[in-house]
Symmetry: C2
DNA sequence: GTCTATAGACAGATAGAC
DNA sequence: GTCTATCTGTCTATAGAC
């Protein structure tokens, strides 16, 4: 049923979304021009307006797919870790880092998330959606925390939900600051990881 | 030595900066127009370009004053708390909240800080300045933490510097999410405070 | 034939800077 | 208030792929 035409169309949309992620991250939602997105994707504006209603619809679609991918990545990590039964004996610090790695920590992801965050602050409806999606993410992280605690390997000084939320926020804050440092993002991940590890140690008994 | 002319000039600059804080917060750095800033300040664009070289210089100046005010507010709280000798017996949770209150937590401050953060991500030189200023802030917070620990009233499960950094990041993350919630900012401060308090409890012995 | 993408030009609006 | 530059969104005529 999927004709080559629709396949090609999906492909065009995907390429436009990929390009949009880069351009929005680099120039910001306002600074990014439809022209720039098209140029990077290798299309003309004609193709763009044949696939998206407006720049705003493009951004909303992009934000939706990013959110979905983030959530899926974390959930896969969670179910994967549960399946391999690495909960009881593994280092909790390492486990947390594995889950957090699922959310992007490269410079582009950080900047794109910042744009999404700004939009969530400015647009109440989008903000609610953002918070709802993030709550699902937190729930997934809290789930793995609960599983680990249930094995009796460690005890937590905070409820799993609040701990998950704080870990996520701390991770975000550290990666953002890492991305600001001019000396490259090589250390970005390491710095964030180390700080997160110390926080986890402090929160576990 | 300050003639009425320079006094008036300073006044104009101050009003433009106040207006800029609002407009930049609401519309973003790109979305904000010089016209909108002037209109809110009650001036024409002519007056603007007589006081600032460009929109960008206005933003940079504004970011500088915001950073300075933030740092001063926190330092005042710190020295104030040290002076009144409330360190030994007071609830550490309450102390942390007092310090954090010094950084703005209203909707406008949150959005303006987000704009500054985005710019810091995009402009390496500005990013370095931002990080340097924030390090001073962290140092001030760490100082008060160290003072409290020195009284022997509590012990910390984390070095004061890292604890200060994490508290600041957690505060920022919670206030941002509070500002996203459509149900108003009445609870913004309370939600952030509660989460912070729980974190402090978990980090203290 | 049908659908997608292209090039190019269009208007309308708006911005920054002076 | 002017000048210049730019962007969005639209439209047409055209070509290519299946």
């Amino acid at each position: 049923m999927t004709s080559t035409a629709t396949r090609s169309r999906e492909n065009t949309r995907a390429r436009l979304l990929d390009a949009a992620a880069q351009v929005f991250a680099e120039a910001g939602l306002d600074g990014a021009t439809v022209e720039a997105v098209c140029e990077r994707a290798g299309f003309t504006r004609g193709a763009f307006y044949s696939n998206f209603e407006s720049k705003d619809e493009l951004f909303l679609t992009l934000a939706g797919t990013v959110a979905e991918e983030r959530l899926n990545a974390v959930r896969e990590q969670v179910t994967g870790m549960a399946a391999e039964g690495a909960l009881g004996d593994a280092d909790p610090v390492e486990l947390v880092q594995r889950v957090m790695d699922a959310g992007g920590d490269d410079r582009l992801s950080v900047m794109l998330m910042s744009e999404i965050r700004i939009r969530a602050l400015r647009d109440p409806a989008f903000g609610e959606a953002f918070l709802a999606q993030e709550s699902e993410l937190v729930a997934s992280i809290a789930e793995i925390i609960r599983d680990i605690v249930d094995t009796g390997a460690i005890a937590l000084r905070l409820e799993p939900d609040l701990a998950a939320r704080l870990l996520m926020i701390a991770w975000e804050g550290m990666t953002v600051r890492g991305a600001m440092a001019a000396d490259g993002e090589a250390r970005l991940h390491d710095i964030a990881s180390e700080a997160l590890g110390r926080l986890v140690e402090a929160l576990t008994v």
